[in-house]
Symmetry: C2
Subunit: 335 residues, 2 copies
DNA sequence: TTGAAAGCGCTAACAG
DNA sequence: CTGTTAGCGCTTTCAA
């Protein structure tokens, strides 16, 4: 494992020049740069990140903070962020909050965030005021994906708009009895997303003069099994809705399975719509509002990278696109 | 951001003593240790990983190499590995091969593996001989999860046994016309897993005197959409099987959706079994062979940690448990 | 355009 | 049990 000294010796220049040449800094003659690059390649030299970090204060690494790995949205965002980071020569650290190991409280004092990462990308997390203050004190660029957090840079779909698109589709088909399976008070989850979708569901319903009874809301916790259970209850209730708006595709799958178990035909007896356009949604034939979490992760990465480069970053809230995708789980209500 | 010097000054000892005290090394008086710990806590001191790495050669970080983030198995393994790593004070680096950014070829010369990680945990990857050689040359502990790779330490279920459990269940119910939806030649996938399951499917069938026609095999690539497509073909074929053995639960879901689309009742018209016990399988009512990838990830982490600690690690192949879970998608064939 | 030299913050002998 | 002394491998002024 050769060091910068080997390269310097091999190419007959100083270590300082090697450093400059390899990092593409100016004030290096083309000829010298070439010689140095050749030497580095020859010796298989790769700069030690630890040494660079120690002397420069830059780690070329960003921390990805995720509430858990089990949800499609998160893994997609991670993949998207990781992609552009790697392209820019940055490494991605994983910080998974799902594990009890490191309590959420101590997260922000963790060495990683303090001394191993130049920036942080946090997914769908609703920080407490304390945590936010701590983050700011780190003076580290931070961007949150999926879920607006006041005062923090954010990338994500406009939840109101996405929900409205879904609801309007249902309403446009003639539905009025629309239930909602949503997330709620998940620990580590950004429940503002769930809240926004739920609120907008009510709003659209109110617009057509409908006040949903409590039985039309089920807490699915953004997980399929839980959503299925909730849907089972909603659909077995006395006042069965003609359609269900699920807060995510994963929860919509749960609704679909619940309907199947109850012998309800979709979309004849029940319409179902979700939000996401999960990679399995097409196979399920699910009507949904598409978003692109991978692009969102990439956008977040680009933002923190820009900040690190000292480039000006425009707004605080970056809205990602969303788009209605009509498939087979929605239709006009039966008579 | 205080340094070791601040702590030393604050507690009236040398930096060497601070280092020893905080790392729990012997030869520090209890009293001194306490003073130092108090000082560190007071100052919010956390050792700089870069500096420690530079002087000790240890990074306290391990690289997690995954073919992609979109598959349940991988994310579970990552979560399991990350959990024990974090508990032991190690950080996890993510190296996602799904992204074109860094071609697979150059992966192993990447700085991460060379100069940022003390060990590598690779998921379901079938290394080429070249890659294996390179890895060994790094002199870094390596463990592969899910898919035996000759000459490399491995954690995973016994694919033959798991497949046999699934097939014997079907055969025990009276099925003889059993199709298989499996993975095949996925780039970056460990196709030895797919091959083992496919081979064993044939073996069990041969045992009961059945030679499956080519139309009874469909390539599902370990992905739901692809598996559904393959299943559609298999089930529409002239010689429709009475049961399908899917190489993973995700593929089994695809088979279930295909059956739904074709109007086939499960399990009356078609039995379906998978391997995994995916977190959604219970909701689908899927009969399957359970494995615990999170535990496997944890086991792999513990192994590399032991190796790093210089502890002896027993065998090369560590078989994880698997267990038949009977639910609602399997039944005796109709007449 | 290039080099010399002084660290970055920690660990690891080696003394004491 | 504790302190001193060298570095680890880079980056970065400051000179030349």
């Amino acid at each position: 494992m050769s060091s910068i000294h080997d390269v310097a010796r091999y190419s007959g220049v100083s270590t300082a020049t090697v450093s400059r040449a390899l990092r593409g800094l100016p004030n290096v003659s083309p000829r010298t740069r070439q010689v140095v690059q050749a030497a580095a390649a020859e010796l298989g030299y790769v700069a030690s990140p630890s040494a660079s970090a120690l002397s420069s204060g830059r780690h070329r690494a960003v921390a990805l903070v995720v509430p858990s790995m089990g949800r499609w949205f998160y893994t997609e965002v991670v993949e998207g962020a990781d992609g552009v980071l790697r392209t820019e020569g940055y490494d991605a650290f994983l910080i998974n909050l799902a594990l009890g190991a490191e309590g959420r409280g101590r997260l922000f004092s963790h060495s990683l965030l303090r001394k191993r990462a130049d920036a942080v990308i946090a997914l769908g997390i609703d920080f407490t005021p304390d945590e936010r203050r701590e983050l700011r004190s780190l003076a580290v660029p931070l961007t949150v994906v999926g879920g607006a957090v006041p005062g923090v840079r954010t990338v994500g779909v406009d939840d109101l708009q996405a929900t409205e698109a879904a609801m309007e589709h249902l309403v446009g088909l003639g539905h009025r009895r629309i239930a909602h399976i949503g997330g709620e008070n998940e620990h580590g989850m950004d429940y503002t997303v769930a809240q926004a979708r739920r609120r907008e569901w009510r709003t659209v319903l109110a617009r057509i003069g409908v006040t949903p009874p409590p039985a039309w809301f089920g807490s699915g916790g953004f997980l399929l099994p839980q959503a299925k259970r909730a849907a089972l209850e909603v659909l077995r209730g006395p006042d069965r809705p003609s359609a269900v708006f699920a807060g995510s595709d994963e929860m919509a799958f749960g609704v679909l399975l619940a309907a199947r178990d109850l012998g309800l035909r979709v979309p004849e007896d029940l319409s179902v719509i979700g939000i996401d356009d999960h990679s399995w949604s097409e196979s399920f034939g699910l009507t949904t509002v598409r978003q692109d979490p991978q692009a969102q992760g990439g956008a977040a990465a680009r933002i923190v990278l820009d900040e690190l480069a000292g480039l000006p970053v425009h707004g605080l809230v970056h809205h990602a696109a969303s788009e209605l995708v009509i498939r087979g789980t929605t239709a006009p209500p039966a008579a």
